[in-house]
Symmetry: C2
Subunit: 178 residues, 2 copies
């Protein structure tokens, strides 16, 4: 099974593809899509959205895993991050690929056993779980692989089979939308 993990961001968007069987996971590709703050916001979103689409078209992942964006964190950059996450979800849905979302702490817990693990610990486990020689850099790239690994290590969670935490999140979003 091929899984595309996406760590959404406007300046740096991490995208990592892993292959996973029951017993073995391996790195297929990882990169950081960058967009210059000098460009207009629409030019940046076009560049990132197109790069994600090209990646999906090329690798044909069976699942796209995206990190959830919380408005509570990083108030100043949340808009751009949310815009990129929206594009990632749209591009996956446009091709009919199932999507899973995970909170940052779900990702950390899945790969390190500790929902509050720091970046170094997450990077170490990404390297270890994928049998790499080095921790992928920058952190956005390593994070995208951690998100993809989370989708493989946790019980399957698409929109149709939510966890309790996801249900709480969805209900809150639903209440806010009314």
């Amino acid at each position: 099974m091929l899984v595309l993990g996406i760590d959404p961001g406007l300046t740096r968007c991490g995208v990592g593809i892993i292959s996973a069987t029951k017993s073995k996971r391996s790195l297929i590709a990882v990169e950081t899509i960058r967009s210059s703050p000098e460009l207009s916001i629409e030019a940046r979103l076009l560049a990132i959205g197109s790069a994600i689409d090209a990646l999906i078209e090329h690798h044909e992942p069976e699942l796209v895993a995206v990190e959830r964006v919380f408005a509570q964190h990083n108030l100043r950059s949340v808009t751009g991050t949310a815009q990129v996450s929206g594009l990632a979800l749209f591009q996956a849905a446009r091709r009919g690929i199932p999507v899973s979302y995970y909170t940052p702490s779900e990702v950390k817990a899945a790969v390190t056993g500790n929902g509050r693990a720091d970046k170094a610990q997450v990077g170490f486990m990404v390297k270890s779980l994928l049998g790499l020689d080095e921790i992928p850099k920058p952190a956005d790239a390593a994070d995208s692989l951690a998100i993809a690994l989370c989708a493989v290590l946790r019980p399957q969670q698409t929109s149709n089979s939510e966890t309790a935490a996801q249900r709480v999140w969805r209900n809150a979003a639903r209440a806010a939308a009314k």
Copy 2:
């Protein structure tokens, strides 16, 4: 000149198209794209993004005006609103259509003369400026027309000719992204 105004939202996304000459503005089309909170987020974004794209393809607007999303307001719903605004910007950019953004107060000031005008006043002026018999409903529809009118009434503001307020906003976004 045809202008498409977009009031981004996940449950209700207002989209309005006006035609404007130097002396006359008229309504071409207005609607509210809705997506059910019962659907998965990716299904909702797919529905809205596709509807925006179909609208752009059908009407071929020469400018797309989008209301800016501020993380400071409506913390709980800002993620969905930002995701939809990202899709709107992406769809415009994908077709090479220039984009303008306006803050809610810029829109209100442009159509009523008061940046703190209430919904009723904005609705009244949308009706008046477009020579309509009634105020378009719901408010999201009227707001999308106010956003399109703002683009016509204010000096042209695409990404290449920013106002002081937009410059401040962009610089803040740039600083946050570093």
